[in-house]
C-alpha cells in the first residue's frame, strides 16, 4: 500500500470521526466527574446535571420535550426498542398485530420486523419505487384496522433518498396509527420537528454526527405505550435500565446541537460538491445514479457501473486512499447484492457494481477532484479485465434499460 497517496474519507454514512468539540465535552466525565448519576452525593449529582442538560438539548434539537428522550447504545437499539416495544404493547392493549415498513429499511428495522413475524405479527413491506422513494398513497392503502405501527426510514443509508416523512406522519395521524422513523442518516441534514411532522418515535445515532460509537437516542412521544427495553434500575424513567453512559451522552448532545444548528450551512456547502461529483461520475460510460437526484441527502450518492463488481472497486479505491462502500454483498459476507438496490428495481447483474460515496463536514472540493481523477481510471482498469464488460460491449447482454 502506497502511504503517500491522498487520503479521502468518503464513507461518512458508515461512521464519522469524533469532533474536537465533542471530545473536549466528554473528557471531564472519564476521570473527574465520574460519579454515578443515580448517586445522591455531590460527585453523582455532578454527573446527573449534565446528563439532564444533554437530554434537554437533544430534545430541543428535535422539537421534543426532555422527558421524551431516552438514551440508548446505538441506532439499532433504538430501532429494536421502538418497533418491538410499540408493536407488542399495541397488540396487547388493542389487539393490533399488523406493521407496515418498507422493503429498503436498514437491517435494524427489517430484521426486527422479521423477528416480530416469528412472534405472529404480520408485516407489510411497501415497495420502493425506482426513484428510491415510497409512495404515501400506497402506504395509506396498506393501513388496516389491525395496523399497530408504521416504520419508514427518514433517509436511506445506502442511496441517500429522503422519504416524504411529514406526509407519512400526517397519514398515520389521520388513521390513528403509530409512526416510527429511523432518522440515523437524516439528523443534521434535514430539518426535523417531531411534533410538526407527526412523528411518534424517532431513532438516532451519535457516531454518524461526530459523536462516538456506542451512543444513540430514541424519542418516544409522551403517552405512546412502548414496552420497556431493559428491566433493572430506574434509569431512563425506568424503561431502559443500566448506568448511563454519561460521557458519550454528553458527546451525543454536543454533536446533535452542532449538527442541527448548522443544517443550512451543511446543505449549502455539500450540495454543490455532491452535484459536481454526480455530474463528473455520470460521464463514465454506462453508469447510473441510484435514486432520485432531487430528494437526496446533501452528502450521499450511490452509483452503479456496468461490468464492474463493487468489492474490487472498493479495494482499488482503498489502494488510492479513498474509503468508500458498496452495496455489494461480498463485503458483508453474503453473496446477494444489496437489498436496497434490488428494491429499486435493479437486477443482480447491475446491483453488484455499486459504489456509495458519502461526504461530511470534513470533506472538501479537493476530495471531489481527487475522486473524479481516480475513479474513471479504476473503472477502466476493472472493465478491461472483465468478461462481463466484454459481453456488454459486444451487445450479447444489455443492461442499458436500467441506466
Amino acid at each position: 500500500m502506497d502511504n503517500t497517496v491522498r487520503k479521502v474519507y468518503a464513507d461518512n454514512a458508515a461512521t464519522t470521526a469524533v469532533s474536537d468539540e465533542v471530545l473536549q465535552a466528554m473528557l471531564p466525565f472519564f476521570k473527574e466527574v465520574y460519579g454515578n448519576p443515580s448517586s445522591l452525593y455531590e460527585l453523582g449529582q455532578q454527573a446527573k446535571a449534565p446528563l439532564e442538560e444533554a437530554r434537554a438539548a437533544t430534545a430541543a434539537c428535535l422539537g421534543a420535550k426532555p422527558n421524551e428522550i431516552y438514551f440508548t447504545s446505538c441506532g439499532s437499539e433504538s430501532d429494536n426498542w421502538a418497533i418491538k416495544g410499540a408493536a407488542r404493547a399495541q397488540r396487547r392493549k388493542h389487539g393490533k398485530p399488523h406493521i407496515i415498513t418498507s422493503a429498503f429499511e436498514h437491517h435494524a428495522v427489517l430484521h426486527t420486523c422479521q423477528a416480530l413475524e416469528r412472534e405472529g405479527f404480520t408485516v407489510t413491506y411497501l415497495p420502493v419505487h425506482k426513484d428510491g422513494l415510497v409512495r404515501v398513497e400506497e402506504l395509506e392503502a396498506a393501513i388496516t384496522e389491525n395496523t399497530a405501527l408504521v416504520t419508514i426510514m427518514y433517509a436511506n443509508n445506502e442511496i441517500g433518498t429522503i422519504q416524504p416523512i411529514p406526509e407519512i406522519g400526517q397519514v398515520c395521524k389521520a388513521h390513528g396509527v403509530l409512526f416510527h422513523t429511523d432518522a440515523v442518516q437524516a439528523i443534521g441534514n434535514v430539518h426535523i420537528d417531531v411534533k410538526a411532522q407527526n412523528i411518534d418515535m424517532l431513532s438516532l445515532s451519535g457516531h454518524k454526527i461526530h459523536a462516538p460509537k456506542g451512543v444513540g437516542a430514541l424519542y418516544i412521544r409522551s403517552g405512546v405505550a412502548v414496552d420497556n427495553f431493559m428491566d433493572g434500575g430506574a434509569q431512563e424513567r425506568g424503561r431502559r435500565a443500566g448506568t448511563e453512559n454519561v460521557a458519550e451522552i454528553v458527546g451525543l448532545a454536543t454533536a446533535i446541537q452542532r449538527a442541527t444548528d448548522t443544517i443550512d450551512q451543511r446543505v449549502a456547502r455539500l450540495t454543490p460538491m455532491r452535484d459536481r461529483l454526480i455530474d463528473g461520475v455520470l460521464k463514465i460510460e454506462r453508469s447510473r445514479l441510484n435514486g432520485s437526484r432531487e430528494h437526496r441527502l446533501p452528502g450521499n450518492v450511490s452509483f452503479c457501473f456496468q461490468g464492474v463488481e463493487g468489492e474490487s472497486l472498493l479495494l482499488m479505491l482503498d489502494m488510492k486512499g479513498i474509503s468508500a462502500s458498496s452495496g455489494s454483498a461480498c463485503t458483508s459476507g453474503s453473496l446477494d447484492p444489496s437489498h436496497v438496490l434490488l428494491s429499486i428495481g435493479l437486477p443482480h447483474e447491475v446491483a453488484h457494481g455499486s459504489l456509495r460515496l458519502s461526504f461530511g463536514d470534513y470533506n472538501t472540493e479537493e476530495d471531489v477532484d481527487y475522486i473524479l481523477g481516480v475513479l474513471p481510471q479504476i473503472i477502466d482498469r476493472l472493465r478491461n479485465m472483465s468478461p462481463l464488460w466484454d459481453a456488454i460491449k459486444t451487445g450479447s447482454v444489455n443492461y442499458d434499460p436500467y441506466m
Binding site: 463488481e309 459476507g333 453474503s334 453473496l335 443482480h348 453488484h352 479485465m385 472483465s386 468478461p387 462481463l388
Partner: protein, 143 residues
C-alpha cells in the same frame, strides 16, 4: 473479512491478465447474477500449457484466485493442470476468508473449462478426461 498479503498482491498486480488472441482453448465459468465470471485462455503446444491468461469480473478474491491459478498452470502439462484443486489455489494465496472459498472453486473450474474447450477444438470428447463442470457450484445464490 481480511485478505492475506498474497491475495492483495495478486489483486493489485494480477499476473497473466487480459484477452489472448491465438489461444488453443478458452473457458468461462460463473455468471453475472452471482457477481463473478472467470474466463481462462490457454495456449497448448504438445501437451504443455505454454501460455495462459484470464479475464475476471468479480470481487478481490475472484481476481486473485484467477491470477494465482494462471501462475500455477503455466508451463505445466494438461494432466498437471487438471489436477490443480481449489485447495491448492487457496493455499498458494495463504488462505481465503470462508465466504470467498467459492472463488477458488471457480478458478479450478475455469481451467477445466478451458481444457475442455481445447479438447473439443481437437475433436476429442473432453468429458472422460475433464469430467463434468458443474454450474455455479457452492455459490448458493438464487438463480
Amino acid at each position: 473479512m481480511a485478505y492475506s498479503e498474497k491475495v492483495m498482491d495478486h489483486f493489485a498486480n494480477p499476473r497473466n491478465v487480459g484477452e489472448m488472441q491465438d489461444f488453443s482453448g478458452v473457458g468461462e465459468v460463473g455468471n453475472p447474477k452471482c457477481g463473478d465470471i472467470m474466463r481462462m485462455y490457454i495456449k497448448v503446444e504438445g501437451d504443455v500449457i505454454t501460455d495462459v491468461s484470464f479475464m475476471t469480473f468479480g470481487c478481490g478474491a475472484a481476481i486473485a484466485t484467477s491470477s494465482m491459478a494462471t501462475e500455477l498452470i503455466k508451463g505445466k502439462t494438461i494432466g498437471e493442470a487438471l489436477k490443480l484443486t481449489n485447495k491448492a489455489v487457496m493455499e498458494a494465496l495463504d488462505g481465503l476468508p470462508p465466504v470467498k472459498v467459492h472463488c477458488s472453486v471457480l478458478a479450478e473450474q475455469a481451467i477445466k473449462a478451458a481444457v475442455s474447450d481445447y479438447y473439443q477444438r481437437q475433436g476429442i470428447d473432453p468429458t472422460p478426461i475433464v469430467g463434468e463442470i458443474p454450474a455455479c457450484e457452492e455459490c448458493g445464490c438464487e438463480i
